[in-house]
């Protein structure tokens, strides 16, 4: 898997500012919003109640946003947030995380209904949706108000393994 943790803000802005745009397919470009990067690598097949097929698991985007809602419910916690696109327009996004019981059992680092609050600033790395124009993604790495939280088995901040 690509070392997403090594991608800094410059790379993110370079991605969306044009430095790497020539290497990216038009298909990938539509996900490149402000403060967003795309990384191509190998994904993990972790149980997602059939949802994995909805996302490009070999691609990643990075979104900077402001949380509007955190739903820590079964079968998957969901994060809703606003993020600006490349044109500076605010877009509303959603992200799903690993199965809730898995997060409770295997990543008992404090995941609760109160872990994230509206207004929190996030940097979310996620697999983009296969549907054109959709604003939903599959969370892979998450930083909330500057603190990294594990969203896949393996801990903080980068994951290299998992199982179904």
């Amino acid at each position: 898997m690509a070392p997403i943790a090594n991608i800094g803000h410059n790379a993110i802005h370079d991605c969306c500012g044009g430095l790497y745009l020539g290497r990216m397919s038009r298909h990938l470009l539509r996900y490149c919003v402000s403060g967003l990067a795309i990384v191509v690598g190998s994904g993990l097949a972790v149980a997602h109640h059939g949802t994995n097929v909805s996302y490009f698991q070999d691609q990643k985007i990075v979104l900077n946003g402001t949380v509007t809602e955190w739903a820590f419910v079964n079968p998957h916690p969901q994060l809703y947030f606003d993020a600006k696109n490349a044109q500076g327009q605010m877009e509303h996004w959603s992200a799903e995380l690993l199965p809730t019981p898995l997060m409770m059992k295997n990543m008992s680092v404090g995941w609760t209904k109160k872990t994230i609050h509206p207004g929190d600033q996030i940097v979310l790395t996620c697999n983009p949706p296969r549907a054109a124009g959709a604003k939903a993604c599959l969370a892979k790495e998450l930083v909330v108000n500057g603190k990294s939280w594990p969203v896949v088995p393996g801990g903080i901040p980068t994951v290299t393994g998992g199982k179904q």
């Binding site: 949802t51 959709a134 939903a136």
Partner: protein, 263 residues
């Protein structure tokens, strides 16, 4: 008794103690986590890995047609949940045998067995479901004598140290597994549970459903391991809540799949 006889008696006692199982093979109680790999009913290909099963389901024409109408989110026929019809996606009960085939695995892996006089009860962590097997000597009703239910109507008996569960009367809306394998209301299921050591439970199943499968279909051997720590932890309350699931579908799954009704 001379010294040689005493030594022999002592050796016999020691040998007896060594060969006596350190568990009761007729005690199946406890929390069990499935560890065998196949999440299908049998070892059909499910796309879960390069060494995945290769057997073919013995479909009838009607069975294959029903299989084709089921749109799972997993395996080689996976479609985005936005366009699928997995009963799990709407929090419908998963039923037997799907609860055994698919869902008793991480992250909601636990099946607890409780044995009480005349009954054998299985609790499933997913959806907080449970299933009763009557083991009081009553006969299994004929399939048309009972209404179809999610988990079927079951009776059990001991065959040596194997607990045999026979069931009829299954609601045909359930799938055998998360890959969309179907059954009809006329399915008859035999489950054979055997505790093969103090930490291991084995399950083999045979389903008979002439409408869907051309012959009795035998499962692979499901292996469960005893989770001794589970009973010491707080219940995780893994319900599937329809109102929450509906919102999740509408706001995330449908959006990701290109069928969004808005967030």
């Amino acid at each position: 008794m001379n010294r040689a006889a005493l030594a022999g008696a002592f050796a016999a006692i020691v040998l007896s103690a060594q060969t006596k199982p350190d568990f009761d093979p007729r005690d199946l109680s406890g929390h069990w986590n499935r560890t065998s790999r196949y999440q299908t009913f049998s070892n059909v290909y499910s796309g879960q890995g390069p060494k995945d099963g290769t057997a073919e389901a013995p479909f009838t024409a009607a069975g294959k047609a029903k299989f084709d109408t089921n749109k799972p989110g997993y395996g080689p026929r996976a479609v985005p949940p936005a366009f699928g019809n997995d009963p799990m996606g709407t929090c419908d009960p998963l039923g037997i045998p799907r609860l055994l085939n698919t869902e008793v695995i991480s992250p909601h892996q636990t099946m607890e067995i409780v044995q009480i006089p005349g009954r054998f009860i299985q609790f499933f962590e997913w959806h907080h479901d449970w299933r009763e097997v009557f083991a009081d000597g009553r006969a299994l009703p004929k399939g048309d004598e009972v209404d179809a239910t999610w988990n079927g109507t079951s009776v059990g008996h001991w065959d040596g140290n194997t607990f045999v569960v026979d069931s009829v009367g299954f609601d045909e809306r359930t799938w055998l597994d998360k890959f969309g394998y179907p059954h009809s209301e006329n399915m008859r299921l035999e489950e054979r549970y055997r505790r093969i050591d103090k930490d291991t439970l084995e399950l083999k199943m045979t389903l008979t459903d002439a409408e869907i499968y051309t012959r009795p279909w035998v499962s692979d051997t499901k292996i469960f391991k005893l989770d001794r720590e589970k009973s010491k932890r707080w219940d995780e309350q893994i319900y599937c809540v329809p109102t929450e699931e509906y919102k999740f579908n509408q706001r995330v799954r449908d959006e990701a799949g290109g069928k969004s009704a808005g967030k």
